[in-house]
């Protein structure tokens, strides 16, 4: 999945836009997504989706897969909000399942709460997805550096990002080799094999780490990875206008909802 996201990011149509502008826009929308009315939150979700799918030309399938996976976690937590065991403490029950020992309720309040939460999570997630799909990782690092994120954190993020792909390749290679060699049958054998693979992957990681530290030394590492400086870029007027108009519209709509 990470490779697919990465490929989409490097080819997205909004890539030339200033990463700082995109980050600020996403941050602002995130704040609005957490505070506005659920209907407007749904509007934000759709709007951010339009930015990703229509403007950035991210395939709908990839967007749907990532967004769906994120929302799945939220949906899996829903039963805790929806279900009430025993006798209803308050509010009208929307549904009732009579178990032999105790009744299980779904209250109208629970349903409403779950709906509000889902709208908020979807809106906030869509803001994150906008940044994930439109801004390459190294540009995000430049933005974070500009926002005075500590150097050590940036270096760690950079090394982890490089290692993610290297480890992914190594793990994929090992898995393929196991498949081609037939692998082992049975649940216990499979478990043992997976543990052995994890061990081998760890050994491989340590080897990679040693190699990388030698590489860093040979290239004159002075204790600090110097990242390229942030270079400001222009944002086309049509995008700026749309963003300003959209935010004003959202705020006006919120004001109208509160008044009525």
């Amino acid at each position: 999945m990470i490779r697919r996201i990465d490929a989409c990011v490097s080819m997205n149509a909004l890539r030339p836009l200033s990463p700082m502008w995109k980050s600020l826009y996403a941050a602002l929308m995130f704040v609005l997504a957490s505070t506005l009315h659920p209907v407007l939150q749904a509007g934000i979700t759709v709007w951010m989706m339009v930015w990703c799918i229509v403007y950035a030309r991210i395939p709908l399938r990839v967007y749907g897969l990532l967004s769906g996976t994120a929302l799945l976690f939220c949906v899996l937590g829903m039963p805790a909000l929806l279900l009430e065991f025993g006798h209803s403490a308050g509010g009208g029950p929307a549904g009732l399942v009579q178990l032999p020992v105790l009744p299980v309720y779904i209250t109208a309040e629970g349903l409403q709460r779950a709906g509000y939460l889902l709208a908020r999570v979807a809106a906030c997630t869509s803001c994150f997805l906008f940044i994930i799909f439109t801004t390459p990782f190294y540009e995000l690092l430049q933005v974070l550096r500009r926002l005075r994120m500590p150097q050590i954190v940036l270096e760690l993020m950079l090394i982890m990002y490089r290692f993610l792909f290297i480890l992914g390749d190594t793990a994929q290679g090992m898995l393929l080799a196991r498949t081609l060699r037939g692998g082992k049958r049975g649940f216990r054998a499979r478990l043992r094999e997976t543990a052995e693979m994890a061990g081998a992957l760890f050994a491989g990681t340590m080897r990679r780490y040693y190699g990388l530290s030698q590489g860093l030394t040979a290239r004159g590492f002075t204790g600090e990875i110097m990242l390229p400086p942030y270079v400001p870029r222009q944002v086309p007027l049509k995008y700026s206008l749309q963003v300003y108009a959209g935010i004003v519209l959202l705020l006006l709509a919120q004001w109208w909802i509160v008044r009525h």
Partner: protein, 284 residues
């Protein structure tokens, strides 16, 4: 003769190993040469390179780079990074930043170079090694050949006098190999001493003009390509065998080839054969 690199009685043993990786190793690399270090896997080629750039420190003996004895102080090592560069066999070992464009400038930023100068140097290197088409792609999306050229570009940007490449053509397809060698040709033409470690005898034969033969951490022979491939006892001793063209040439009757230099490429071989057969009255 001036030398870019010389080892004098270098001994090095990795921790927890019985056998030393380098045993009183001594050799010299002439300045401006195209040198090939030949040897089997485990003969000490990579260890030798790590010693030459100061990553590993010998337990005995001395190393001289561009006429200056290697001193392991912080200041001297920083100077060494600008004099000698190493391209690892596995480019993943030395590619640190996210795109080729950024990675090439890694060393330059480390020495505090001005941003305008960095951009200029990077664009020169990108052009020299023809990296334009992928310079802004994430590193993990590049092919092995592209990664190797990017790693070479990162070293080259520092404008070193000496470049060491560990198995530069390993796992490369013929096209990527040709692109890399063409890049090396340009680098050498600019006056840089280029040293490669390889066990590809055909590559060493057609490319190098100075050869060093290593076997189990010792230098068996060093000399011009003609001396090493002509004498070929050191190669036999190291179990390396002869490159195909040399084997063909030396299998011809001695009386026929006497006085002719051994051809280094297939084209040279054909021309030499035409000349030989022409002189004996036959045609090819």
């Amino acid at each position: 003769m001036e030398y870019s690199l010389s080892f004098d009685g270098v001994v090095f043993r990795y921790p927890d190993t019985a056998e030393p990786a380098l045993k009183e190793l001594s050799f010299k690399v002439p300045k401006g040469s195209r040198t090939a270090v030949l040897g089997h896997n485990g003969s000490g080629k990579s260890t030798l390179f790590l010693q030459a750039v100061g990553v590993l420190r010998p337990q005995q003996g001395g190393i001289t780079v561009s006429g200056r004895p290697l001193v392991y102080s912080r200041k001297e090592l920083a100077r060494l990074r600008r004099t000698a560069g190493l391209v690892f066999q596995d480019p993943e070992q030395q590619l640190i930043l996210s795109t080729p464009q950024d990675d090439i400038s890694f060393g330059l930023r480390g020495i505090g170079m001005d941003e305008r100068e960095i951009r200029l140097r990077c664009s020169e290197v990108v052009e020299l090694l023809r990296l334009e088409e992928f310079k802004d792609k994430p590193i993990h999306q590049l092919s092995l050949g592209q990664k190797k050229r990017t790693a070479l570009a990162g070293v080259l940007a520092m404008e070193p006098e000496l470049i060491l490449l560990d198995e530069p053509t390993a796992y490369l397809d013929p096209m990527s190999e040709a692109q890399l060698l063409s890049g090396l040709e340009n680098i050498h033409a600019a006056g840089t001493t280029v040293v490669i470690a390889t066990h590809d005898m055909n590559l060493a034969y057609r490319w190098a003009d100075w050869i060093i033969v290593l076997d189990r951490g010792s230098c068996l022979a060093e000399g011009t390509a003609g001396e090493i491939f002509g004498g070929h006892t050191a190669l036999q001793e190291a179990g390396l065998g002869l490159p195909l063209l040399a084997e063909l040439w030396y299998s011809l009757p001695e009386g026929l080839t006497a006085g002719y230099p051994a051809p280094r490429t297939a084209g040279d071989f054909k021309a030499a054969l035409q000349q030989l057969l022409g002189s004996t009255g036959s045609g090819v």
